[in-house]
């Protein structure tokens, strides 16, 4: 089912934003040595390292969230090694949520029961910390600013700027998103054109499925010859619980119910201090049943008898969703191109078997900074990363995630083998593209196990949130309604015809906040996009089976306002 090529999509995107590409709009230009797109752990670590090693460099960090940390959502148990190297004193002034890991549990769930499994060695967390990554990023940002880094929350990098022609094309910076554009694409009364940020080197640190990274990976053919990238979709809630139920530092992961054996994923539960806990769930976006509903799977998991006694009577403080880059070593694109580098999850450095990405994001960021400081440019960064400890860490575990393409049991056996051999198997398994992995609805019906999973949800759920919209409330997401829709669907005819027929519009099920709706009324069947609900997880940009959804940055400051996630 070939969709339109990314080139068509990128062109269509610029057609929809005439102001953003118009040469007639006067724009301020700001010059930097290094411009970093994305104020997450990778971007901020890169900025700090650059200034630590070469204070004379001018460095800026662009961030689309209204403030640093507001779009950060991560597990998150961090391995402190790279952070210790970056910021040795971080423990003296810890982020608002920071609990030392004390005990690990790994469970297999059936509908009613739970079995303890041996802890996989990658998942031992001794010496690690459960943190709020959003809070940690706020501290990194404050430190970066104290070193002279210019941090700009509320200013999304919207598109890359190019210089040179043909083979000499290079990235010369990024254009920030325009503010005050009306829904019809015209300039409103407060219209403020986005600044052009010019830089000797642009570092893309946008996190999972970065929108500029996506464009550049295509344009510079950085993924040619690599395995397709694959992602997961993660949900997370911060709970405030009745006193005395938690065991601070307890880290619990589960596999099994409510997922069937062909769907990759599992849960996490991290006990915090102050009678709080993080509860979350991750599903591989290479799931195959188009009727599968990831958000509802998460909610079902919370109703397992092993979970409800903990959660009952508690309340949600904050919640959200974000995709996770899972492709690892074989899907890692070339990390450099003329004028720009990819780091962290925008590149895909996360270690899936460890279920940790922050140490890798910081590690790759520091290497990128070292490369820039030592050589004055990014050339050679790709080789340097692959040969580094962070690169070798990815190589060792490269076959574990794709092993689960053949089901849970094969995956576990393969993971055990790979772990014993330390990744010295002579082969490298392939990932497959998430947007291609769906079966047609008709084929799914023939599959009994799936039928059970897709339809037999326990309808009566007692724990909050009631549904996806109630959950969205806890993300406190805001988009000014009078702005252009930032979810570009290239051909909505496909939605009401082929997709309805072939897949039953899976976007209405995989979107964690019900952005996509199919409406049937007098005007006929059509797609309705509730863009203001969007929590910027990027699942639609990844999973839509025709590759026709293109996520672009909305007006700066829009999106979720996560607290302590």
């Amino acid at each position: 089912m070939p969709g339109p090529s990314p080139a068509t999509r990128i062109k269509a995107l610029s057609d929809e934003n005439p102001l953003a590409t118009s040469a007639a709009v006067p724009r301020d230009v700001m010059e930097y040595d290094v411009a970093i797109v994305g104020g997450g752990p990778a971007g901020l670590a890169c900025a700090i390292r650059l200034k630590d090693r070469k204070p004379a460099l001018s460095v800026c960090v662009l961030e689309k969230a209204s403030e640093i940390g507001a779009h950060i959502l991560s597990g998150c148990v961090i391995e402190p090694g790279p952070l210790d190297e970056l910021l040795p004193g971080w423990r003296d002034d810890p982020p608002s949520i920071c609990v030392p890991a004390r005990r690990d549990e790994f469970l297999f769930l059936s509908r009613k029961r739970a079995w303890r499994l041996p802890n996989p060695p990658q998942m031992h967390n001794k010496g690690n910390y459960i943190v709020s990554l959003g809070a940690l990023c706020q501290q990194l940002a404050a430190h970066a600013e104290s070193l002279g880094v210019e941090v700009f929350p509320g200013f999304p990098g919207a598109s890359a700027l190019f210089g040179g022609e043909g083979r000499d094309t290079r990235v010369i910076g990024v254009r920030c998103g325009d503010m005050g554009v009306e829904a019809d694409g015209t300039a409103g009364p407060n219209y403020a054109p986005g600044v052009d940020v010019h830089a000797k080197t642009t570092v893309l640190a946008e996190g999972s499925r970065g929108s500029i990274a996506k464009q550049l990976i295509h344009q510079f053919r950085l993924a040619d010859g690599k395995s397709p990238q694959t992602w997961g979709l993660g949900f997370k809630e911060l709970w405030r619980l009745p006193p005395g139920r938690t065991e601070p530092g307890l880290i619990q992961h589960t596999i099994g119910w409510p997922l069937d054996a062909e769907t990759y994923g599992g849960s996490f539960l991290y006990h915090l201090d102050g009678d709080r806990a993080y509860v979350g769930f991750v599903v591989g976006l290479d799931y195959r049943d188009p009727r599968f509903r990831p958000f509802e799977a998460f909610q079902q998991y919370k109703h397992h008898p092993a979970l409800t006694p903990l959660l009952e009577g508690g309340e949600i403080a904050s919640a959200g969703a974000r995709t996770i880059v899972e492709g690892g070593w074989q899907s890692l694109p070339t990390l450099e191109m003329p004028g720009a580098l990819l780091i962290g999850d925008a590149a895909g450095t996360l270690n899936v078997p460890k279920i940790k990405g922050v140490h890798q994001a910081i590690g790759s960021a520091m290497l990128a900074a070292d490369q820039l400081v030592e050589t004055g440019g990014g050339a050679g960064f790709d080789v340097r990363f692959r040969a580094s400890a962070a690169g070798r860490e990815l190589y060792k575990v490269r076959n574990i995630r794709p092993g689960f393409n053949r089901g849970l049991w094969f995956g576990l056996a393969n993971a055990a083998l790979e772990t014993v051999l330390g990744g010295r198997t002579p082969w490298t398994l392939d990932n497959h593209a998430d947007w291609r992995s769906l079966r047609k609805t008709a084929e799914s019906r023939a599959h009994d196990g799936l039928e059970a999973m897709a339809s037999a949800w326990r309808p009566e759920r007692d724990l909050p949130p009631r549904d996806r919209l109630a959950s969205q409330y806890f993300a406190a997401t805001v988009h000014d309604e009078n702005q252009p829709v930032h979810l570009h669907v290239l051909d909505t005819d496909i939605c009401r015809t082929r997709c309805t027929e072939e897949y039953g519009n899976p976007c209405t099920r995989f979107c964690p906040v019900a952005v996509y709706e199919m409406v049937d009324d007098e005007a006929g069947r059509r797609l309705h996009i509730n863009a203001s609900n969007c929590v910027h997880c990027k699942a639609c940009d990844i999973k839509d089976p025709y590759e026709i959804i293109n996520w672009v940055t909305p007006e700066g400051g829009s999106g979720p306002n996560y607290q302590n996630l």
């Binding site: 301020d28 209204s66 920030c176 503010m179 403020a192 805001v478 607290q563 302590n564």
Partner: protein
């Protein structure tokens, strides 16, 4: 003419406010803080007056913790000329705030004081009125349109019955409502410029405003949860259900 604008650092309007465990206040840990939206409108109006050539200088001031510098920098990035932080880690109640502002008014001698009509955290809606009384100058509150002629301010204010137009002799205190304007977006180069604009910090204790708190907070509670609704099949069932509940 000099315009003095008072702003307050409050929990951002997009944040879901949560009450803390023991009910003594709201959770502020890791919560986004912003300029009170009404005050932002006051800053915007001051800038527009200046841009029309009717004022020479816009000074923004706040009473709050050291971190409130962040909100003052935002106002400077919008275009204000300089800022004053009257630093205090204590909660400052309306009368104390008005008396403190009075000290600033004595020092700066502004032709106009612009304030938001109220702050979205405590919704007191008192400081402007109190300041006008202490200063013994005219006031116009809830203003949604404002212009100047012959040294007087003409302010349209929203009242229960509709709109009321007041003419106030300057200097005066004007508190602004939502419809007055839509604040501009801050631009990146202006954020850089704002870092170099003067920001003076004055400890509240040095101003000699001795004002013990007069209001005491009892308890903070979230509004009661609504019970779940039910779905009825028909009009008859609806009527019956309402009757059973004694609502019809």
């Amino acid at each position: 003419m000099k315009i003095l604008v008072g702003i307050k650092r409050v929990i951002d309007s997009n944040v879901r406010v949560q009450i803390n465990r023991d009910g003594t206040g709201v959770v502020t840990d890791g919560v986004k803080m912003s300029i009170n939206p009404f005050d932002e409108i006051a800053v915007e109006e001051a800038l527009r007056i200046k841009e029309r050539g009717e004022a020479g200088e816009v000074i923004v001031a706040t009473i709050g913790p050291g971190a409130a510098q962040q909100q003052l920098r935002t106002a400077l990035a919008m275009g204000a000329d300089r800022a004053v932080l009257i630093e205090s880690d204590e909660d400052v109640q309306p009368l104390a705030a008005a008396r403190t502002f009075m000290k600033l008014v004595e020092k700066e001698d502004p032709g106009l004081v612009l304030l938001g009509k109220q702050a979205i955290d405590d919704d007191s809606n008192q400081v402007g009125q109190m300041l006008a009384a202490i200063w013994d100058r005219p006031q116009a509150t809830f203003v949604s349109r404002l212009h100047f002629a012959d040294g007087n301010g003409r302010a349209v204010r929203e009242v229960d019955a509709g709109l009321e137009t007041l003419e106030v002799e300057l200097p005066a205190v004007i508190t602004v409502d939502l419809r007055l304007n839509e604040p501009r977006f801050v631009k990146m180069p202006d954020i850089m410029k704002a870092k170099r604009k003067p920001l003076e910090t004055v400890p509240l204790a040095t101003l000699g405003v001795d004002m013990p708190p007069r209001l005491e907070f009892g308890r903070h509670e979230p509004p009661p949860k609504r019970a779940a609704g039910i779905k009825v099949e028909s009009v008859e069932a609806l009527v019956k259900s309402l009757r059973e509940r004694g609502m019809l």
